[in-house]
Amino acid sequence: MSERQSWIIFVSGIVILILLGAGTAAVTSRYAASEDRVAHTHQVETLIVRVRASLFTADSARLAFLLTGDEARLQQYRAELSELTRHLGNLKSLTADNPSQQERIAALSLLVEEDRSLMERSVALKQSGPADETKQKDIEQQCHGILTRAVTLLGSMSEEEARLMNLRVGTSTASYRNILRVLVLAGLIVLIFLGLLFRMLLKQLSVRKQAEAAVRQLSLRILQLRDAEQRKLARELHDSLGQALAAVSMNLSVLKEKGDNIAPEKRAALLTDSLQLVQQSSSETRTISHLLHPPLLDEAGFDSAARWYVDGFTVRSKISVALEISSDMGRLPRKTELVLFRALQECLTNIHKHSGSTRVIVKLEKRGSFVDFSVQDNGRGIPASVLSEFQTTGGGSGIGLMGLRERVNDLNGEFKVESNASGTQIHVILPFTEPGTSPSQPEQSRHTGSSAASPEKTPPSSLMKAPVALSPG
């Protein structure tokens, strides 16, 4: 799981949460608006009922006055009329957005006006003198007609409001359901994201664990390899140098003790033996030291060092090696040459130990801004299981190839292994750069002799570790 993927998941999670928030806000405000409309419709319905009630109350108060002549009734009649006007005004303003209700209210207002003037006439008639039954009756009939029409009108207004009410309650319920849907959706999305993140985390943890285990294994193998190298070096020093020097010292002791009392042929034999042993030791020392780090590599470059190593390898292993280095190669940076030389050593050593090859082709070519180093053998190949483990986890093989790959990676190069039953090809591709600004001073370091004095020469203690690129610390 890459860092980029994590960011994508995180950012898209945030975006989705923001969208969900906006959606919830929109749906909720729509729900609130529809609830307001419902309340508004309730208000209108109440006013309609009040208008009707006022109409009837005013009429009954007037009739009561006609019958009893009670002034209180007349007062009540007038109060109810003014109530009626107020209610009508309210109703008109509340339904301002509804043209059909406005029309009805206009008609209703006319009827109310008509009714009011009739009622005023009947009241005036009553106050003006003795009751005129016929006139009052006539007015009464007209009033009744008007009231009936008003009630019909109010009824249709009520129906209209009821219709609206139905509609608005429907909208409100739908909005409420939408809120629920959005919330459930949001919950699900959050759950999915949490799940995804949790999985990512687990994966990361297991990747890290694997990496840590690989590192531990690598350092363990480095230590083991260093032990093996040290043991090998100890053995070589003991076998080739220690024994020869002990023998020489014995021979010299004999010469010293005997002085002149020794047969000339015996003296000659002792001296010849000793000389031979010393020469042999000297040559062994050179070989051990050069295998650890060939001075040719620093002084003459990869080309010469590779030729020297390949010559010795061919003698030791009886494997024929064709070494092809492009003629325009010249010197490479010290680090690059060292990595190439270690690659050569590692590959040829593996070929000798494991492959059963008879022929090896070693090539070094310049390709644009890269140098391509390859070693190809005709042996039995690396076992598929070992190769695939090396390519996926880096393990499985000996430390050598892993170490080599680390060296190559360190120089931003590329390391490739191809292997099948008819041979193995290893490529080391390194960026090509001209040698750096601090060229070695080979002549000086060779002739000043004292190895400790020259930083160009590695002291023996670290020479032992030299074949292991990854030695810790």
């Binding site: 003991h238 076998d239 020869a244 002990a246 023998a247 014995m250 002792l270």
Partner: protein, 151 residues
């Protein structure tokens, strides 16, 4: 043992005993055996009766020849010097064992003592120590030189 001490030989210059001494050299390096032989032969009464290149061979020769002294290296293939020392005590009880090794630690010298060795000489000091050691052993004295030993 006495049968091997065949009286006086012509005395060599300055060093060495007059008693004959039959010596077995066991070391895996021919050059070392050669050097030892040169050293031993400085005493004309002493004789290298056989050489062996590893522990097994050394044991066979010791059984066969019953030498007076076996000069034994420690680091050898097939059977190391300490094992050989123990084995010689069983199969050639009269043979003295002189350990000759480049191992210069006190501990190794103690190991050699424990294994039953009669002497211990550091290889690089063989030139000056080997003859006194052989002499000591021929006179039934142990020889554990501290020369070259690290503590």
């Amino acid at each position: 043992m006495m049968a091997h001490r065949r009286g006086l030989a012509s005395p060599p210059q300055g060093i060495g005993s007059f008693l004959t001494l039959r010596i077995l050299l066991v070391d895996d390096f021919p050059a070392v055996r050669q050097g030892l032989k040169h050293l031993v032969e400085m005493n004309e009464a002493w004789e290298v009766v056989a050489e062996a290149g590893d522990g097994q061979e050394g044991l066979q020769e010791a059984e066969r020849l019953q030498p007076d002294v076996a000069v034994v290296d420690i680091g050898m293939p097939r059977m190391n010097g300490l094992e050989l020392t123990r084995a010689i005590q069983k199969s050639a009880p009269k043979t003295k064992v002189l350990i000759l090794t480049e191992q210069n630690s006190q501990h190794m010298m103690q190991e050699a003592r424990n294994a039953g060795a009669d002497g211990y000489v550091i290889k690089s000091h063989a030139g000056s120590e080997l003859l006194p050691a052989l002499e000591a052993l021929s006179e039934e004295r142990p020889f554990f030189s501290s020369k070259g030993i690290d503590d």
